[in-house]
């Protein structure tokens, strides 16, 4: 199933706000906000996000793909998902 890239970004953004940014103003989080290097996600929250993506988009991460290069911003995450599901 093809997913619009914009839709993926919004899904990921909503998950991050609901899960890791309690009490945050949602406008603060942009598609380029650093997530791991900015202290928003630690190793456990990163795995929670990976788990969410695997279920939502129905593919499995290879062990080496769980990496800052693919996960440090909403843009990076969404592009990675799109490359996996052919969006």
């Amino acid at each position: 199933m093809k997913q619009n890239l914009q839709e993926i970004k919004e899904n990921i953004k909503n998950f991050i706000i609901d899960s890791f940014l309690k009490n945050a103003d949602t406008k603060e989080l942009t598609y380029t906000t650093p997530l791991i290097s900015g202290g928003i996600m630690d190793s456990i929250s990163t795995m929670q996000l990976v788990n969410f993506i695997e279920h939502k988009y129905n593919f499995e991460f290879q062990a080496h793909e769980v990496d800052r290069d693919n996960l440090d911003s909403i843009n990076l995450i969404s592009n990675f998902i799109a490359s996996k599901i052919g969006g």
Binding site: N23, E28, H64
Partner: protein, 489 residues
């Protein structure tokens, strides 16, 4: 039977007995016992050339690698003390530690060199991008006799404090581990904990004492369960030691069903409570190993142990068990656990008055450490952990003084006042919440706060939640009312 009095002798003996056996493996590199000894002796000569002796400290500021271990043994061979630095922590915190313990030399990765150019002189370039630097300071404090290493931990004054360990005390623990777990040269140990964390003492020195193989796990793999699950199986690890947080991450996210773990025979965990339901999930995948719950602050290393029975019948948290054979224990009327014996730290580095109260000498000259942990005894004579007497908390096995977080936030120019509290979530994980009063609403941003903390605190100290309030509630005696803050979350 055992004449070992210095930690480096453990390597010497293994190099003599099993020169060609693999001592360490890291990513695609490995080194034999003979080569590890030769490399550390070569570096030891360079340290001697800059007059490193038994009264000095030498810090190692690099990520985990074979060279890190070479440096540790070279420093020990010089009879100086090594100070392992957390290469992932903010550089300001690390500079504080390096200044605080007045190191005479620094073995540092090139990428961190810039910040130390002023106070250190470059002596030589070592292998794999490490540099040897010497302090420009002429007179330095002398170490107490027999000092082997200093591990820095979160301090109740808001600054990290150094826990000084002697060779003698470290060997007490290492020899206890030998007797309790009976490792052999066919064992393959994990080195999951970073070298600045006291769990590493077991990994490194017990494996080397028994001429076993030690698998060094790099910092990235260490916190990534998919890679970790693969590594434990592929490297055929037989003795695993980590915090429960890591074991739970492995079970929840590591896809353990994909791999074979038949070599795993012993799984040790320490540093925090392991909720039973999480333990049972792990045991579903790892049925064969013997499990131990180990307990002990950095100041004592492991001081109580509990072997998990084959069948876990109740859902009540595991006891921390009985006192280790090289220790004595007693409980104060307040419920606080005291540990006495030769295995405890020498003292804190440059202790203040409050630090000094942690150690007590009794009439028989036994030194006791006041753990600050409250315990009870169950019907089987095991200690049960009940909580803390102070504001120290554990998160992912790391101890955190909440004051250290408050002080870091206090340094922020836009923060008027702040208070930090901790609680637990439904999975029993520690959740840290910071209450912050800012000068202007522009700074009332969770993202800005987390970003600031990620630059000024180790990752494990970054609060989970930030709550912005106009002013902090106070008690009748004008102190921060932490109880009332707890009601606000």
């Amino acid at each position: 039977m055992d004449n070992t009095t210095k930690l480096y002798q453990l390597l010497d003996l293994s190099a003599e007995k099993f020169p060609d056996a693999i001592a360490l493996r890291f990513q695609n590199k490995q080194i034999s016992y003979k080569d590890l000894k030769v490399a550390s002796e070569k570096l030891h000569i360079q340290l001697s050339a800059i007059t490193i002796t038994s009264t000095d400290r030498v810090a190692i500021y690099a990520n985990k690698s074979i060279d890190f271990v070479i440096a540790q043994f070279a420093i020990l061979k010089s009879e100086a003390a090594y100070v392992p630095i957390d290469a992932n922590a903010p550089i300001e915190r690390n500079s504080y530690i390096i200044n605080n313990c007045e190191v005479k030399a620094l073995i540092i990765h090139k990428s961190f060199y810039e910040s130390f150019k002023q106070n250190f002189t470059l002596v030589s370039e070592l292998e794999n991008d490490l540099l040897l630097l010497k302090s420009n300071k002429e007179t330095l404090i002398k170490s107490p006799p027999d000092l082997a290493y200093i591990l820095y931990t979160s301090g109740s004054t808001g600054k990290p404090k150094g826990v000084m360990y002697s060779h003698k005390a470290a060997l007490e623990f290492i020899n206890w581990s030998s007797a309790t777990f009976a490792p052999t040269n066919i064992d393959c140990f994990s080195s999951h904990a970073p070298f600045h964390f006291d769990l590493s003492i077991f990994d490194l020195f017990v494996s080397i004492k028994h001429s076993a193989k030690l698998i060094l796990i790099d910092d990235q793999t260490a916190k990534q369960p998919l890679l970790l699950a693969q590594l434990i199986s592929e490297q055929k690890i037989s003795i695993w030691y980590s915090t429960p947080t890591i074991l739970n991450m492995l079970t929840t996210y590591g896809k353990l069903h994909k791999y074979n773990y038949e070599t795993l025979r012993l799984v040790l965990f320490a540093g925090e409570v392991f909720p039973i339901n999480q333990f049972l999930n792990l045991k579903h995948y790892w049925k064969k190993p013997t499990y131990y719950n180990l307990y002990g602050p950095t100041e004592t290393n492991v001081c109580t142990h509990y072997k998990i029975p084959d069948e876990v019948k109740s859902l009540i948290a595991f006891p921390i068990g009985k006192c280790c054979e090289h220790y004595k224990s007693k409980i104060l009327p307040s419920g606080e656990l005291l540990i006495g014996g030769n295995g405890i730290m020498l003292n804190y580095w440059q202790p203040d008055e409050k630090n000094n109260q942690a150690l007590i000498k009794d009439e028989q000259n036994t030194i006791w450490y006041k753990t600050g942990d409250l315990v009870e005894i169950d019907s089987a004579n095991n200690f049960i952990f009940k909580g803390r007497i102070d504001r120290m908390v554990k998160r992912n096995g790391y101890r955190i003084e909440l004051l250290e977080i408050e002080q870091a936030l206090h340094q922020h120019p836009e923060i008027i006042e702040n208070a930090v509290i901790s609680g637990t979530n439904e999975e029993n994980a520690t959740i840290i919440t910071a209450f912050v009063c800012c000068k202007s609403v522009d700074w009332e941003s969770v993202i800005k706060m987390k970003e600031y903390c990620s630059k000024n605190l180790p990752v494990y100290m970054i609060p989970n939640n930030f709550i912005f309030i106009k002013s902090l509630p106070q008690t009748a005696s004008n102190k921060i009312d932490y109880q009332q803050l707890k009601q606000l979350i």
